[in-house]
Symmetry: C2
Subunit: 322 residues, 2 copies
C-alpha cells in the first residue's frame, strides 16, 4: 500500500487523472490543465479550484489578510492562464472554533481586495469547523472559443516566454525566513499578483499557442508544457529575467540563485509559447513585461543553456506530500 | 474579541454577509442563497461551494467512498435547490501525507459515482497537504432565467412542502452511534441523495415561489425561507412525512422523534413553496415524492401546530463552531 508521501504530489495527481481521463467528457479541457473549460455556446466557462491551508501556506510573516489574498490569487491565476476574464470566486472555509472573528474579517479583506484587483466578484461561500484555517476557492471566468489558452498547442519553432521575473517569490520567502527585509521580494511571496491582464492580452493576440501559470517553479512548468504539447524546450538561462533581490538572498544565505529562479514556486507568472511572427504584436501590447527565454523544438528532452554549456533541464520543483 | 465559538455559525455567516452584501454586485443572487447565480445571457450560471472535513463529517461507519460521495452530494444539493441542471464539479483536496493512496482512490469512487448519478462531470481539482482529509467542492449548473429558484419569493397563501421524508438521516446517525443497524436510515445519513431531478421539475413547473435544501434541519430551513421571503409559516407537524425508522430510534434510545424531524440536519431534501393552484401540476409530475406541510402567511412568527396546539417553531438546528 503506497502512502501519498511515497508517491509525491505529481504522481498522486497523475494516478488520479488516469482515472478521470477515462470518463467520457463533455468538458473541453477537463482535469490536467490549469482549469476546466465547459462549452457554453458562444464561449467557454472556465473553472479552477485551489486550496490554501494555514500550516502549509501561512509562511512566517504572512498576515491573515494575505492568506485571504492568496486563496483568491492562486485561483484567479489559473483563470489567467486560460486567457479568461474572471467572473468571480466562491470560497469554502474550514475554520477553527477558537479563531477570533476579527482574523476572519481580515481574511475576508484579502479575498475582497484580490477579487477587486481582477474585477472579479466574491460570489459566495461556506464555513465549517476545521482543525486549521482552510480556504478552498473556486474561480470562474469566460473566454472566447478562439481565445482559450491551453497547456497543449506549442509547436516546434514557437518561442517560449514568461511574464515578469523569476525567483522573486523564492527570494521573498528566504528574506522572511532570514529577516533580510527585502520588501519587494517579500511582497511577491506574500501577495502574488494573478496575471489576468496579461492572460487577456495573450488570448486576444491570436499568437499564443500554449500557456500555464508557474506555481511550482519554472523548470517544473517548462516540463509540464513540454509534456502537454509534445515538444521539447531549449531554455536560455541568461535570458531569464531576475531581480537583484534574488542575488542579494544568495549573497546573504548561500542559497543558489539558479535554485530560486528555476526550482522554487510562488511566482504565479505566466509561461507561454507563441508563433515567432507574433513577437511584434506582443511587444506592442505588453511592452517589456514579458521575456523570451527559449524556443520549442521537436523531441522530448528539455535543455538548459547556461554559460555556453547545454545540459538537461532538471524536472523538479515544489511538490506536496514529499 | 469574539471567537467563532462565541458567535456560532449562523452569526458568523451573517456578519460576513453583511460585508459582502455592501459590494456592488453583477451577480443575481450572490452570497446568502444556496448558490450564486451569474447572468450568462440566455441563462444563469449557478455556482455553489461546500466543504467536507474528516473530523467533522466522517461519522462512525462512514467509508472513504461515502466521504467522497458526500462532498459531491452536498454541492449538487445546492445546485438542485436553485432548480438548476448540473454541469459538473471541481474538488480541492487537502490530504494528510500518510494517507494510503488506495483510500484516496475510494474517495474518488464516491465523487465519481455521485457526479454520474446527477449527470454531472468531474471537471477538475487540486491536491495539497493538510492535517486532516479536507474535500472542498464547487458545483456548477445552469438554469433558465424564468426557472431559477431562490429562497426569497414565497407569498402569503403559498403552500409549504418538502420532498422525501424528514429525520431519516438523523435516525441513521443515531443507528450508527448505537449499533441499531437500521440500514435504510444509515444509508440516508451516509449517502444523501441530491434532489436534482425534483429541483428541475419544481423549476419547470412555473409554480414554485421559493426553494432551499434542508442541510441543517427542517426548522432552521423554515426560518431561513421565512426571513428571505418576509413571510411567516404555519407548519402542521402531523403532515410532515416521517419513516418508521425514526420512531424505532426513539424507542431504542429515547431521542425524541420531533427532535430528529425538526432540528437535525443531513436529509438534504428540498423545502419549497408554491402557488396553491400548482398542486395538481406538481402531483402529476412528482407523484407522492413530496408533501405539503404548511402554508405561508403575513407576519414573521413561524408557528408549529401539533396535537391541536399552536406554538412557536423553535429557531435552532445543526450549527458549526458552537
Amino acid at each position: 500500500m503506497s502512502k501519498l508521501s511515497d508517491l509525491g504530489e505529481k504522481e498522486v495527481v497523475r494516478k488520479i487523472l488516469a482515472r478521470v481521463a477515462t470518463i467520457e467528457s463533455g468538458s473541453v479541457v477537463g482535469p490536467g490543465d490549469d482549469a476546466a473549460a465547459v462549452d457554453m455556446g458562444l464561449l467557454y466557462l472556465v473553472a479552477s479550484t485551489d486550496i490554501v491551508l494555514e500550516r502549509t501556506h501561512m509562511m512566517k510573516g504572512m498576515s491573515h489578510k494575505q492568506l485571504g489574498w492568496m486563496v483568491a490569487a492562486v485561483n484567479f491565476s489559473d483563470i489567467a492562464a486560460m486567457g479568461a476574464k474572471p467572473i468571480g470566486l466562491v470560497v469554502s472555509m474550514g475554520l477553527p472554533r477558537d479563531l477570533e472573528f476579527d482574523l476572519l474579517d481580515q481574511i475576508f479583506d484579502g479575498i475582497l481586495d484580490c477579487c477587486e484587483s481582477v474585477k472579479g466578484e466574491m460570489l459566495g461561500g461556506d464555513t465549517k469547523e476545521a482543525s486549521e484555517i482552510t480556504l478552498a476557492g473556486a474561480a470562474l471566468g469566460t473566454v472566447s472559443k478562439r481565445g482559450i489558452l491551453l497547456r497543449k498547442g506549442a509547436r516546434p519553432g514557437d518561442l517560449l516566454a514568461v511574464t515578469g521575473t523569476m525567483g522573486l517569490a523564492a527570494a521573498g520567502f528566504h528574506s522572511l525566513m532570514h529577516n533580510l527585509t527585502l520588501k519587494k521580494a517579500e511582497k511577491a511571496a506574500l501577495e502574488p499578483v494573478p496575471r489576468v491582464k496579461e492572460g487577456l492580452v495573450l488570448s486576444a493576440s491570436g499568437m499564443v499557442t500554449s500557456c500555464m501559470d508557474i506555481s511550482d517553479g519554472l523548470a517544473s512548468s517548462v516540463h509540464a508544457l513540454s509534456e502537454a504539447s509534445q515538444v521539447a524546450f531549449e531554455v536560455d538561462y541568461s535570458a531569464i529575467p531576475v531581480e537583484k533581490e534574488v542575488a542579494e538572498v544568495t549573497k546573504a544565505t548561500g542559497i543558489g540563485t539558479e535554485e530560486m529562479v528555476l526550482y522554487y514556486g510562488g511566482d504565479y507568472q505566466l509561461l507561454f509559447t507563441f508563433k515567432p511572427e507574433g513577437l511584434g504584436i506582443l511587444r506592442s501590447r505588453l511592452g517589456s513585461t514579458f521575456s523570451v527565454i527559449g524556443k520549442a523544438k521537436m523531441g522530448s528532452e528539455n535543455l538548459l543553456i547556461k554559460g555556453g554549456k547545454t545540459g538537461h533541464l532538471e524536472k523538479r520543483g515544489y511538490e506536496h506530500f514529499t
